[in-house]
Subunit: 428 residues, 2 copies
């Protein structure tokens, strides 16, 4: 078992100069770059919230160096954040690489002294969220993300692993407390109370922000989800699986940035994907060059929501139907015909519960991106605040519905229908 | 954070001679015994399944030395069991001592080299199970056990602890894998398949043992409970809270033996208490000196089932109504009147779910004591196999009902009514 280092005495934040000598020590990265380090050049491109990200390029190719900073970049040095998150990211990448190597960037090196990971520069992949803003279609997206989720969630769960192996992995990821705390506060708590870091399109959404802060049933439903996040150690989840953690071309999909990984509820990952597709859907109105121009693209986004869930469900069930190795629902118990049938029914029930969870988490993820600290470019890029607020209001209303009524949704088409209805209702 | 020792190089099983010099090194135990060690005498009295237990006595008093053995005593050296369970027992006792010191034996010493705990000799307390067999009433039992469970479960949960504190404790208890494995196999798996260690009253119960092994709906329901046991890290549970882990007089109650402790579902502890009271109930027929002699005692046992749940529910809700400190349902979210009301409703919902869980686990705990490896003296003490089988058959039938229909029980009186019905149904 690997545990995170107790301290980082040799850590120094890299810069555009030092990163070149750093990479020149790493043979596989050196091989990828070719040339001599003197001819390399580096650029810091981190547009995320937490880390330094460098592209180191030669005339032959490029590599990425992602280095943790000891604080949250988008908040500042007042919110300290431990460097060990690079350890957890590397551990999670190692686990994911067992099951879906083709859906990840290649890793060249993990440096525990510098809390840094050196990996493949993905090109011409772009951040999926930026693709959504541009209206690009990704025909492989649903299948790839469904495969990623089904494989990583099923195969790190008690349905696949023996209990002791799973618990020993949990013991390590339980220590990723600070990254979990970000989610606990920014997703499940702050948007529902007065909090310094909250922001929203004001004054347009002031009424909804206030109403959400006083909405007892909404807050209890969100807290039920939070309790699940705190205590349902179902599988090693990515923990931040939004469209900013996916890079894609129409032909290829890569999942990045699992530094929030821990043993948590599967529905949190599935909900992140669905919720962010729905945020993209509601933001399209703000990116139209003329009214209705994105109508078909909107339809494609909803179709992708449906296809992602449907394929995920199918793959998850397929994996579960392979000769079972996990300690829960052990194969030795389900050999006779009546038991096989009962197990098939139970698997459907399991997927229904996972669907309810995913719907609820999707709603919570939507709300926090509009009323909390960290917003999404899909909406932020809409310059006209009235237009943006109109899009956000619809997303908020659907988000609330998904959280409060998550157990009344049984099919993914009911979710997309609700999205369509919310969209038109306010259009009129 | 304390972690279990990596090895026990100085460990040697104690015997009735060496235990005296061992205790003579421990000042608080020495104080309790008084006299000089030469006048002490020791006796090995372990009647449990796992450990060495010595009573060391002087003319002034006695102390207990509980030492782990590197295998399961009741199975033999073929089932190795790590010594570090003494570490987990001591950690759990330390945690429990924060909340319910008066419901525990006093600890004098934990010895990490010898995997041993030196503690108060409880007298005139007897193992509760033996009291049930003798037909002794314990008027304080329900209130004390309800208090023990409410305090230890609530205060180690996300309802009371901040997330990081809870996760760091989880990280330690996740490593108690081997003790959990015993439960996983002996409670949730072996009774439902052909397994070498299973035994039951044969041939009388052969039909039911076979029927349970082929009962698809029962097996899926038990596996759903097992999955919850594997992945619901709700609170630090005792993990083995049957009537053999409680010592009592009519005036006092003490909970012992938390070596199975880990972060698991609260309902597993509550269900252990309920299930073992119900086993005591069904066994009374075998301990009657004349037909009907235990009728009132049977009624007292069911009344204790009801009182235990009712008081537990009440205390749990009271603790939850104190100014909240936990990360889930954080107090800052529930200040306005409408939110306070919504939270009260949610707390009821939470307790309903916990009740369903407890009912299911109670059923599973009953079944495993009749068809699995480890039986209970309540039933084993019934010499006539036909009579014993008659008692066991009723308990099995109720156990199955509780597991399969756990979600249809909403009140504890529905459980006791079902027990009464099962009892009379077969009497006729």
């Amino acid at each position: 078992m690997n545990y995170p280092p107790a301290a980082f005495p040799n850590y120094r934040p890299l810069d555009e100069h030092t990163v070149i000598s750093f990479v020149s020590q790493i043979q596989p990265a050196k091989d990828a770059l070719g040339d001599s380090p003197e001819s390399w050049h580096a650029r810091e491109v981190g547009d995320g919230n937490l880390n330094l990200v460098f592209i180191v390029a030669s005339s032959n190719g490029s590599v990425i160096v992602k280095q943790a900073l000891p604080y949250i970049r988008c908040v500042g040095e007042t919110w300290a954040l431990p460097l060990e998150r690079a350890f957890f990211e590397n551990e999670a990448l190692s686990e994911e690489a067992k099951w879906v190597p083709d859906l990840l960037p290649k890793r060249y090196h993990y440096d525990s002294d510098q809390a840094a990971i050196v990996m493949e520069y993905l090109s011409p992949h772009i951040i999926l969220r930026k693709g959504f803003i541009q209206g690009i279609r990704y025909p492989r997206l649903a299948a790839d993300i469904a495969e990623f989720m089904a494989q990583t969630l099923f195969k790190t769960s008690g349905l696949y692993l023996d209990a002791a192996t799973k618990k020993k992995r949990m013991a390590v990821f339980c220590l990723n407390t600070e990254l979990c705390r970000i989610t606990e506060e920014l997703v499940f708590t702050d948007p529902y109370r007065v909090a310094k870091l909250n922001r929203w399109t004001t004054p347009q959404l002031d009424d909804m922000a206030l109403a959400f802060r006083q909405d007892g049933p909404l807050k209890t439903a969100v807290q039920r989800l939070k309790l699940k996040f705190l205590s349902s150690a179902e599988a090693l989840i990515h923990g931040d699986l939004h469209s900013g953690s996916i890079m894609a071309t129409p032909e290829e999909t890569r999942v990045i940035d699992p530094e929030f990984a821990f043993y948590g509820p599967m529905g949190f990952d599935v909900g992140a994907v669905i919720g962010n597709l729905l945020l993209a859907y509601f933001s399209q109105e703000g990116h139209e060059s003329s009214p209705g121009q994105r109508k078909e693209y909107r339809a494609w986004l909803l179709q992708t929501v449906e296809e992602t869930w449907n394929r995920f469900e199918q793959r998850f069930l397929e994996l579960w139907q392979e000769p079972a190795t996990g300690d829960a629902y052990h194969a030795s118990l389900f050999a006779d015909p009546s038991s096989i049938e009962a197990l098939a029914t139970e698997q459907r029930t399991y997927l229904h519960q996972l669907f309810h969870d995913s719907v609820g988490f999707a709603g919570a993820k939507m709300i926090r991106r509009i009323l909390g600290l960290a917003h999404v470019e899909d909406l932020e890029a809409i310059k006209d605040p009235d237009l943006r607020a109109r899009c956000e209001r619809k997303a908020l209303r659907l988000g609330r519905l998904l959280v409060i009524d998550s157990n009344t949704f049984f099919k993914i088409t009911e979710v997309t229908a609700a999205a369509r209805q919310e969209y038109s209702h306010h259009e009129s």
